[in-house]
């Protein structure tokens, strides 16, 4: 059966190059890429926060609160890693 690379076939060339660049950069310097992806994720979370808070906060605060939530979650995961692999710290 012939294998079709859907990634090559259908996605725009610029997007494919962008993903390749991200993969290469992830290997070299993962932190900026992780931050970038977190901010992308916050594009989904921030509107939800904004919707939930009603008129109490503006869009900018909703985005900041989304980031704060992700940061808190990240810190919690980091502390769990310390608990389970303490010899690395």
């Amino acid at each position: 059966m012939k294998r079709i690379d859907l990634f090559d076939e259908f996605l725009p060339r610029d997007f494919k190059e962008g993903v390749e660049l991200l993969k290469a950069q992830w290997r070299r310097r993962p932190l900026p890429i992780q931050l970038f992806l977190l901010m992308c994720l916050n594009l989904i979370i921030a509107p939800a926060v904004y919707a939930a808070a009603g008129t109490e906060i503006d869009r900018r605060s909703a985005w900041a609160l989304g980031m704060l939530g992700l940061l808190t979650l990240g810190l919690s995961i980091y502390v769990f890693v310390v608990i389970f692999q303490p010899e690395h710290f």
């Binding site: 808070a53 109490e56 906060i57 503006d58 900018r60 605060s61 900041a64 609160l65 704060l68 940061l71 808190t72 810190l75 919690s76 980091y78 502390v79 769990f80 310390v82 608990i83 303490p86 010899e87 710290f89």
Partner: protein, 697 residues
């Protein structure tokens, strides 16, 4: 088996009887370097290694952002929010800097000590012996384990090694501080190993290198005191987990608090939530933990002991049984001949004559003292020494002596062994022998029988002197719950007399090297941790078996490799000091953890009323703090300042007292637990009054 000399010692907390030298440590500029280093350590890649301080660091960044834009996370009631948030950010920043400073000071002291040690090492030109016997001059860094080198008077010994030929005096003051030169010769349990960096001051030696470059004892000591490659000890790992669990719990509590605050219509800002989180997580012990560990290694190094790992030092604190050699550890070691007791109708002059003949080849202090006493009684060597043969003492035969040119055999040694020798030559045992033997034993001396062929001539009384103060030290160890077992080759009566005088808990008489390992295994089977000292090749298995094995630097390479600590001063009594250092390390860590956790209560009562102010719980403001802002700032300032305030305690260690585990626990709970509850209430109130008086909040 052990070093016979007695040296003044220094106890970890006690007075310094005589300065036990360590290479001169240059601490000039230590604090300036530590201040610089504490800012360098702000690098997040360094901070992430300390979970508690990393969270404070993240909190600092967020509050700094809030100082720029107080409404970043939405509308917050109050005035002067920018100043308030900036103050919180500055206090948190200094909390991190102070924690870094504590670690940097401890590391700086270790580095200074490592530099002093490193100065004893330098790349030198080594005279390498090639297989064809010729000498090639090479750099000491190219030497490898197994290479043979030649050193002559004036040379610095380029690497750790074992003497295989030659006899020479070596100046070891660079590592031990002892200015008297040490005789080195091959095939001896106590004088065959040499350390790189020491200097040969007479004659020449051929040495087999026993360590690759960078892996010698000095290198190990440098790595340990610098703390660069220090791996966490089991106790530190357990404490890291505890701190992380506490941090996780408080992180979850603080993250969910806004929901509860919102329910009671009490608005709470992110800056105050961060302040509460930092106040609740155990920042004091989190900031001081690594400093305590590094300082513990530093204290061991100050005692001129090379520990191969921090785990070994910590294990010292958990030791429950000490196995000690009698000679050199409990007694002064240089037993001297005090009296000849004739038996079997022989005269004292005859005993002196035979004792002299049996000791002419004996180079031990005991042998030399027998020769001196015999000569004092008029005995002379009446045979050609060059045609006689010296018989060395061995643990199996427990005798030494001389085979005379006329075929006669003179022997001296343990009474049972000499009895066996006489019987094997067809002789009869003297009826008054046992009386003389018991008399000497009951005096706590060592009786040596002396015989020629099949005739026992008498008993030599070797006087043993118990080290002054050793009984008090054993009493201290007993109060700490450490059991002492004395091992001796002496007979049962002598051993029991010495054991009673010295105050050891148990003894094993007529012990062979195999008995050492049997004792250790028996104690370990009962779940106890055992420490012992040794220096001979036959001690190596027992040193490896023991939880803490301390080898003497003057001992053989095999002993040093089997042990997890090497005492550069070759003082077996130091094992008792090491137990004290280990216990002090564990107690310091426990005490500061208790203090750190107990501090939370006061900080909680300072900040919680602020968060729930609108819920009408002002009655919780039991300290009567001036305002909500000053309450938060006071708690945080106290939280930051307590770290540098405790640095001296972390570095020097909690004052050690020889108490049982229960007594120590009660004492520490009282001082550091109760103290940790009360002290912050007072300190926070004082800071609050100061803040209110300057109108800061």
């Amino acid at each position: 088996m052990t070093n016979p000399t007695s040296k003044p010692r220094r106890t970890p907390q006690g007075r310094r009887d005589s300065r036990r030298h360590t290479p001169k440590v240059d601490t000039k500029g230590l604090y300036q370097r530590a201040v610089r280093e504490s800012f360098v350590k702000l690098d997040p890649r360094v901070q992430v290694k300390n979970p508690v301080m990393f969270i404070v660091w993240v909190g600092t960044i967020i509050t700094a952002l809030l100082a720029i834009d107080p409404y970043l996370f939405g509308a917050v009631p109050g005035e002067n929010l920018r100043l308030f948030n900036a103050l919180i950010a500055v206090i948190l920043f200094f909390t991190v800097v102070f924690a870094n400073f504590a670690e940097a000071v401890a590391q700086g002291r270790g580095k200074a000590q490592a530099d002093a040690l490193r100065s004893t090492k330098s790349d030198t030109i080594a005279k390498k012996l090639l297989p064809d016997g010729s000498i090639q001059e090479v750099s000491s860094t190219t030497l490898r384990r197994g290479d043979q080198i030649k050193v002559v008077a004036g040379d610095v010994i380029p690497a750790d090694g074992e003497v295989i030929a030659g006899v020479a005096s070596v100046d070891e003051s660079a590592i031990t501080g002892e200015s008297a030169p040490v005789l080195k010769e091959p095939g001896s349990d106590i004088a065959s190993s040499v350390t790189g960096g020491t200097k040969i001051i007479s004659d020449e030696l051929t040495i087999r290198v026993t360590a690759d470059p960078g892996k010698g004892f000095i290198d190990r000591m440098i790595a340990l005191v610098e703390g660069a490659e220090r791996s966490k000890t089991p106790n530190e790992i357990a404490l890291t987990v505890l701190l992380a669990v506490l941090t996780q719990v408080f992180l979850i509590v603080v993250a969910t608090l806004p929901t509860i605050a919102s329910y009671v219509n009490s608005s709470v800002s992110v800056a105050i939530l961060i302040a509460l989180l930092v106040a609740l997580i155990p920042t004091t012990i989190g900031g001081l933990l690594s400093a305590i560990g590094i300082a513990g290694m530093d204290r061991v190094a100050q005692f001129n002991v090379v520990a191969t790992s921090g785990r070994a030092v910590e294990a010292c604190g958990d030791i429950s049984t000490l196995v000690l050699d009698k000679t050199g550890t409990i007694t002064l070691g240089n037993r001297l001949a005090e009296e000849f007791i004739p038996v079997n109708n022989h005269s004292i002059e005859e005993v002196a004559q035979v004792a002299l003949a049996a000791s002419v080849f004996d180079e031990t202090p005991e042998g030399k003292s027998i020769v001196r006493l015999a000569e004092k009684l008029g005995a002379t060597v009446d045979f050609d020494r060059s045609k006689a043969e010296g018989i060395e003492f061995s643990a199996k035969t427990r005798m030494s002596g001389t085979n005379l040119p006329d075929g006669g055999e003179v022997r001296k040694g343990a009474v049972d062994s000499v009895k066996g020798f006489v019987r094997s030559r067809g002789g009869q045992l003297a009826p008054d022998l046992d009386q003389a033997y018991e008399r000497v034993s009951r005096l706590g001396g060592t009786p040596l029988a002396v015989c020629q062929d099949n005739d026992i001539y008498g008993i030599i009384y070797l006087k043993d002197i118990i080290k002054p103060g050793i009984r008090d030290r054993f009493d201290q160890l007993r109060r700490m719950g450490v059991r002492t077992v004395m091992l001796t080759g002496d007979n049962r009566i002598t051993a029991s007399v010495i054991a009673q005088e010295a105050g050891v808990d148990d003894f094993i008489a007529e012990a062979t090297p195999e008995d050492k390992i049997a004792v250790i295994q028996r104690e370990q089977a009962e779940g106890k941790l055992v420490a012992m000292t040794g220096d001979g090749t036959n001690d190596a298995p027992a040193l490896a078996q023991a939880n803490v094995g301390v080898a003497m630097n003057s001992g053989t390479q095999a002993a040093k490799e089997a042990a997890n600590m090497v005492d550069l001063d070759s003082d077996p009594t130091k094992l008792i000091d090491l137990v004290t250092i280990g216990k002090q390390l564990l107690i310091t860590r426990g005490a500061l953890t208790t203090f750190s956790v107990a501090n939370d209560i006061a900080k909680y009562f300072a900040i919680i009323p602020v968060i729930f102010a609108s819920a009408g719980i002002q009655s919780l403001n039991i300290m009567g703090l001036a305002s909500t802002k000053s309450a938060v700032l006071s708690a945080l300032i106290y939280n930051a300042l307590i770290i540098p305030a405790l640095i001296p305690l972390a570095l020097t260690g909690v004052k050690f007292r020889p108490l049982t585990a229960n007594q120590l626990l009660q004492r520490n709970i009282l001082i550091y637990g109760l103290g940790g509850v009360i002290a912050p209430f007072i300190a926070i109130k004082v800071i609050d009054v100061l803040i209110a008086s300057v109108g800061l909040a």
